[in-house]
């Protein structure tokens, strides 16, 4: 057991604490209590009416973005798996036995920019969670045999996903779109790197020492929790964790200078798929292009968009047409995805999208349409905040990308400020042909579409 410090002393050791009440008009409606320990660990408590339950999250700002060494794509995600392999105090089996007693839901996820560890369990066992989770973050220890076995589970995870055309298409798209930046690979990594993972035991030890450090991590407790108690326990269990984060040297991606094309043959019968990406700005609450792009995604690809109505509802050229541009810490890709009814419709759909993009570039969009989109974004966000985990998921997303919770309110204020002119400018700057990466997939024998 770790050294226990009397709770009465802990208050004296805590650094200054701030409580941010929600201001009128803020999209995030809950009071946030925030403190930072001396070692840099940020601790956020968000009391929420969920009697007996808390969501206990640790947000590590490490993702596939940080996999800068060649041959190590997918390692952040692999390492997330290893975090469940135990410590000297709590072996994997012992950790699992305690979770069973708690009846807790335990999971983790890794993305481009962050890895999020989630525990949803009984509020009365907050100290148990603090003890177990701090122990594995400070003292993770696993054998090389366990490491090699877990690498196979990651390969299994890749295999379960690769029967769907989307994964290989995204792989192809990123590989084409990026040359230097680590967004070149999917979070799960390239297959050849996954296959090589069992040989990287020593690298994994360094990875842990280098990246899993308090100043790069946020502890987030949402639900039936008292901020003072959370902060006292955080100090008690995480206070002796040593600093030492060494950021990865992530190389910026130079501007794209020409359009890129790729095609994948698919061995099984399928309708043709298309995936089109444009180099896009990093998440920013200052750069209006960043916010305007979220609105453009709706203007073009929501179910109410004229483009969607034309292609999916009226002409029925595609059964799916949607966009995704996850928040990204560095400049990334805005991507839209479609599944056409037949091969000959792929270029027609692409032409239709291009035409609607040109319209956005050539004339300001109707301000009322923008207002409706802003309304949709606000209500959709509000509706996601109905459980401790739902709240923690949203907060984690913004912390992982922007590094702070304040960016949530800032982002929605920014949305409100986006004007038709902002949309027009963003459309002109982002949707340039030299920014485009276009990947198609069709049953064997299909051809790439230009």
């Amino acid at each position: 057991m770790s050294l226990r410090i009397p709770t009465a002393l802990l208050g004296l050791l805590l650094t200054a604490t701030a409580a941010h009440a929600a201001s009128q008009g803020d999209i995030f409606p809950f009071k946030v209590h925030e403190t930072t320990l001396d070692n840099g660990l940020r601790v956020l408590t968000i009391p929420y009416e969920s009697p007996g339950t808390v969501a206990y999250y640790l947000v590590v700002r490490i993702g596939s973005r940080d996999e800068v060494e060649p041959g190590h794509s997918g390692f952040a995600h692999f390492f997330e798996h290893m975090m469940f392999r135990g410590t000297e105090r709590y072996s994997r089996e012992a950790y699992t036995e305690i979770l069973k007693k708690l009846g807790a839901a335990s999971n983790a996820s890794t993305g481009d920019d962050s890895t999020i560890y989630q525990l949803i369990g009984p509020a009365r066992e907050l100290e148990t969670m603090m003890d177990m989770e701090s122990d594995r973050f400070k003292n993770l220890k696993y054998s090389e045999e366990d490491f090699r076995t877990e690498a196979l589970a990651v390969l299994g995870e890749y295999n379960k996903s690769v029967s769907n055309p989307i994964l290989p298409m995204l792989e192809k798209q990123r590989d084409l779109a990026f040359q230097k930046h680590t967004y070149k690979h999917n979070t799960i990594g390239f297959l050849e790197d996954i296959k090589a993972m069992p040989g990287y035991y020593d690298y994994s030890l360094k990875f842990f020492q280098r990246f899993y450090r308090p100043e790069n991590i946020t502890l987030l407790v949402v639900g039936d929790a008292q901020p003072q108690r959370v902060e006292e326990l955080a100090k008690k269990y995480y206070g002796d964790w040593k600093k030492g984060y060494q950021p990865a040297d992530v190389q910026p991606e130079p501007p794209q200078t020409e359009p890129k094309r790729g095609h994948l043959d698919w061995p099984n019968p399928t309708n043709p798929y298309m995936l089109v990406g444009y180099r896009s700005p990093a998440f920013s609450t200052r750069d209006m292009n960043s916010a305007a792009l979220d609105l453009i995604a709706q203007l073009l690809f929501s179910e109410t968009a004229p483009l969607y109505k034309e292609v999916v509802v009226d002409k029925q050229w595609a059964d799916t047409l949607s966009a995704f541009g996850d928040l990204s810490r560095d400049p990334g890709l805005f991507t839209y995805f479609g599944r056409a009814k037949s091969d000959d419709l792929v270029p027609k759909i692409k032409e239709a999208v291009d035409r609607h993009i040109r319209e956005l570039q050539e004339k300001p969009v109707d301000a009322q349409r923008l207002d409706r989109i802003k309304s949709n974004l606000r209500y959709a966000f509000a509706q996601s905040l109905d459980t401790p985990a739902g709240i923690a998921d949203q907060v984690s997303l913004y912390i992982g990308t922007a590094g702070n919770i304040g960016s949530i309110n800032e982002r929605f204020v920014q949305y409100q400020r986006v004007t038709p002119e902002d949309v027009q400018r963003a459309a002109r700057e982002i949707f340039r042909s030299q920014n485009e990466t276009f990947v198609t997939l069709s049953h064997k024998g299909g051809a790439a579409h230009d």
Partner: protein
């Protein structure tokens, strides 16, 4: 391996944990009524700024006429993804969009659900649109063509390209072959093509009735709102509540293998058999303990996960079920409003390397055999009891989920399910658990579906029942190697093996 210090630390901590049930919360106020509207109404008020509405109709794919499989699904699509008599589908979407709302149609074997959650600021507007869609659907020909093709594409592209979903769906078809549960809710390519717009109109008229509707409202709604909404839906025809009789599931004799031939890099495996009980039966709860011990969904807790993934690195995950589970790859907890009177037991082995397929099947069967023959100890039952009583409290956290669970309990004619779990599990004994295992789980008679490249070769491998030695990329623990010696020669003895090309799956 567990070392002594870890065990001591774990035991010390475990001893400090509170008794089962301490995680429980007092039941929220709820009301179930059948007022002047003649509609079953379930309400669940709270202080939430959100309001969830669920309309659950007693109509599902079991009501599809022969040769028109998919009609219930297509009808629901025409209601939730079609125009109304006042506005086109596009106009309906335009109206829903600013409130970030949808009508959320979903069809299962026995029920059809329409659901939405909105902020209370937009509740009145949303309720009007919901009524319009449900009471005055346009049934426009263009919507019909689009929705029918959406369903066909789902079968031919989405399902056929997801090996896991494909195996999970096909297993149900095998277990319930010739039974009303036997076809996908989406039907088949040919049956969908045989459905006409008039079929949809007739189906809607016959089944979307007051008698078939259960209406649920939860969250921070204004006083009187649920009754107003119920009165609005009293415009539906009265109908007559008549639960369709179901034959018993066909008895599985032996071990029946269905192999889907498809170019794929791994092998997805799902196996199971029918169960004669559902959650309304007292035996369900001891069986629930056994199932959780074997393979609690998406957790590291079960024996299957421990033995196949964590000890042997065979794949990404391995779980078991005693109820239909909606969309296992994408859900953590059981989804509300997919109730079924008849259920099945299943084991889901996530894709494995082709060379490990036979071994993985044997390893899972070995665990099933072990559970069947050896049962669970009292300590094991106590551990799972605590786990489930606490864990099940997480299944219905949002107002919408709580409402859905309550409505399901009404469907099954039982007290609230989450409360029942605690009430039953507090009392369940190891003897009851082991008796339920013996009575309901069958390691000898089951169907298995495998999605594989070179299915013919896999068929030969399975038919031969030859040893399937497992090799590892590092030194495996001695205990694992010792267990492997028994697993690799476990007799499977397939009774039948059928190979189905991928392009014939869901075709007719």
């Amino acid at each position: 391996m567990t070392d002594r210090r870890s065990l001591i630390a774990a035991l010390a901590l475990a001893g400090a944990l509170a008794a089962p049930g301490a995680f429980a919360q007092s039941a929220p106020p709820q009301k179930q009524a059948q007022g002047s509207s003649g509609i079953d109404l379930v309400t669940l008020p709270s202080e939430s700024p959100l309001v969830a509405i669920r309309l659950l109709f007693d109509v599902g794919s079991i009501h599809d006429p022969a040769g028109k499989e998919g009609l219930a699904a297509l009808t629901a699509f025409m209601v939730s993804q079609g125009g109304t008599q006042k506005r086109s589908y596009s106009e309906l979407l335009d109206a829903l969009y600013p409130m970030a709302a949808s009508l959320g149609g979903n069809v299962d074997r026995e029920v059809t659900l329409f659901t939405g959650t909105v902020h209370r600021e937009t509740l009145a507007d949303y309720a009007k649109l919901l009524q319009e869609a449900l009471l005055q659907p346009a049934f426009a020909p263009a919507d019909f063509e689009r929705n029918r093709e959406q369903l066909v594409t789902y079968l031919t592209n989405s399902l056929r390209s997801s090996d896991e979903l494909l195996s999970l769906e096909l297993l149900q078809g095998e277990i319930f072959k010739g039974h009303p549960y036997g076809h996908p809710t989406e039907g088949t390519v040919e049956s969908l093509r045989g459905i006409t717009l008039d079929d949809v109109k007739t189906f809607y008229r016959e089944h979307y009735t007051r008698a078939n509707l259960m209406l649920g409202v939860a969250g921070g709604y204004p006083q009187g709102f649920p009754d107003e909404l119920a009165r609005a839906f009293s415009a539906l025809p009265a109908g007559q509540k008549e639960q369709k009789a179901l034959p018993p599931a066909p008895k599985i004799e032996g071990r029946n293998v269905t192999l889907v031939e498809k170019e794929t890099s791994s092998v997805a495996i799902t196996l199971g058999h029918a169960l004669p009980i559902n959650r309304s039966h007292p035996d369900y709860y001891p069986l629930m303990v056994a199932n959780s011990y074997l393979g609690e969904h998406r957790t590291m807790y079960g024996r299957l996960m421990e033995q196949l993934r964590l000890q042997r690195g065979l794949n990404y995950g391995d779980y078991s079920y005693i109820e239909y589970w909606y969309y296992p790859p994408g859900t953590d907890y059981p989804t509300a409003n997919v109730p079924r009177r008849q259920q099945y037991f299943s084991i889901w082995i996530r894709p494995v390397a082709p060379g490990d397929a036979q071994f993985a099947l044997r390893a899972a069967l070995s665990e099933l055999r072990r559970l069947h023959d050896q049962g669970m100890t009292k300590d094991e039952v106590d551990t799972v009891r605590t786990l489930l009583i606490n864990y099940s409290k997480l299944w219905a956290q949002s107002p919408s989920d709580r409402l859905g669970y309550l409505m399901d309990s009404k469907f099954y004619g039982m007290p609230p399910y989450i409360d029942e779990i605690e009430a039953h599990l507090k009392k369940v004994t190891a003897e009851q658990v082991n008796a339920a295992i013996k009575k309901y789980l069958d390691p000898d008679d089951w169907d298995v579906v495998m999605i594989a490249n070179n299915a013919r070769q896999l068929a030969e491998t399975l038919r031969s029942d030859a040893p399937s030695p497992k090799t590892y990329n590092s030194q495996a623990p001695a205990q694992v190697l010792a267990e492997d010696k028994a697993i690799q020669v476990l007799p499977v003895k397939p009774t039948s093996i059928e190979i189905v090309p991928i392009d014939q799956v869901f075709q007719k």
